[in-house]
């Protein structure tokens, strides 16, 4: 897939998710399922779930996509990012049997985001793409640390053990990787 295809695909997925939210569009939901279910399943398998358990994570994730679709804000995140977060939470809930504490946007104690400027809204849409480009431009060793962190549910201390490198090295690679990403995301602002 080249960059334009990827952008078109991302735009289509966003529109399908909005159709699920606004019109309870079942055809759009099935298309989302076709794209995301095999990916969420692969994600679960990489994290040590057996195939049956991975299927359950897929089911619960997709049910929650349907239930929570109205909370999706296309200006803030892509459909892939939003569904990644749901799948991550399902995995914590089902595979680790644990709660995930999260801030509540409606809580009166919540310190709100600064009002975004018009140009920032566009930037946020591009942010994911720039992060992806920045990731691709990282040294292989930093990519590897981040991939292990996301896909294999490994705290960075376990990533260190796995790669046979000191914890301090992993931490400094993570810091470098995100300093780089922060720089890329922050530029033009």
């Amino acid at each position: 897939m080249n960059d334009d295809d990827r952008q078109n695909m991302a735009g289509q997925l966003d529109r399908m998710l909005v159709a699920v939210a606004d019109c309870r569009d079942r055809q759009a939901f099935k298309s989302l399922f076709e794209y995301f279910a095999p990916r969420v399943k692969a994600f679960g398998l990489r994290q040590g779930a057996d195939p049956g358990m991975a299927d359950e994570v897929v089911q619960e994730t997709m049910i929650n996509v349907w239930r929570k679709a109205k909370q999706f804000e296309a200006t803030k995140a892509s459909a892939s990012t939003w569904i990644f977060a749901i799948a991550r939470n399902m995995r914590i809930d089902m595979l680790r049997k644990a709660n995930r504490p999260e801030p509540d946007m409606d809580d009166p104690a919540m310190v709100p985001d600064p009002e975004p400027q018009a140009h920032e809204i566009i930037h946020r849409k591009q942010e994911a793409r720039r992060i992806e480009e920045a990731f691709a431009s990282l040294p292989a060793e930093q990519q590897e640390v981040l991939r292990l962190a996301f896909f294999e549910d490994k705290a960075h201390s376990r990533v260190a053990a796995e790669l046979g490198i000191p914890l301090g090295t992993v931490k400094s690679r993570i810091r470098l990787a995100f300093r780089h990403l922060r720089g890329v995301v922050g530029e033009e602002q």
Partner: protein
């Protein structure tokens, strides 16, 4: 409010990827409620997670999985669909932001604080994390906490008042991460009691014999 002490990138990454345990996540999530800047960093990390989900090699799902999901959608009424909750109408800002207030069961002025001695109080916060202790501490304005070092990791998130030690001054929203290498003697700053959330995975090591003697009685 100016937050000057933030969680490290690796702590935010473990939270964003889902690898961080519940008690530590409680401190990070409560910091995020107070810190739009760190929320932005976590959003960026989640965007990276989203792009990794796009690029993963898919594992085929069976037709049955789709059918099972569609059957469950049929059985759901629209009342099951999650709608964003309306914000409470009053103008007062709770001391404990969510998700911490929910874990504590009430805001700071509605809790059954346990006396620790020397004017300090604590309130244990139950989480599902075994081997990790979460508690709220209330240190009277202007008073010191006995000098101590750490057997493991300690995260301290200030919610009200402020404390300071040799590493700086910490106010509402500031998060301090301490490990074996930090020995410190925090003081609550004058003016207001300091309420903070403390997460530890090993008992503190107090430097003075007297503090060590009362430690088992206080359970800290």
């Amino acid at each position: 409010m100016n937050i000057s002490h933030h969680p490290s990138e690796d702590l935010l990454l473990d939270y964003a990827s889902g690898a961080l345990g519940e008690a530590w996540s409680l401190a990070v999530a409560t910091h995020l409620a107070l810190c739009p800047g760190c929320r932005r960093v976590v959003s960026g990390m989640e965007a990276l997670g989203g792009s990794m989900l796009d690029s993963i090699v898919p594992a085929p799902t069976s037709r049955n999985t789709l059918n099972a999901v569609m059957t469950r959608l049929d059985a759901m009424t629209e009342r099951d669909a999650a709608v964003p909750a309306a914000p409470p109408a009053d103008g007062h800002t709770p001391i404990l932001p969510q998700p911490l207030r929910g874990y504590a069961g009430a805001d700071a002025d509605g809790l059954n604080w346990q006396r620790l001695g020397l004017g300090a109080y604590q309130m244990p916060i139950p989480t599902g994390d075994k081997g990790v202790t979460a508690r709220l501490l209330r240190i009277p304005a202007g008073r010191p906490v006995p000098k101590h070092s750490h057997g493991g990791l300690e995260l301290t998130l200030v919610l009200s008042g402020a404390f300071s030690d040799a590493t700086g001054s910490y106010g509402r929203g500031d998060l301090q991460a301490a490990d074996e290498n930090l020995e410190h003697q925090p003081h609550a700053e004058p003016g207001e009691d300091c309420i903070c959330l403390a997460i530890t995975d090993a008992p503190l090591r107090f430097s003075s014999l007297a503090a060590r003697m009362v430690q088992p009685l206080l359970g800290i």
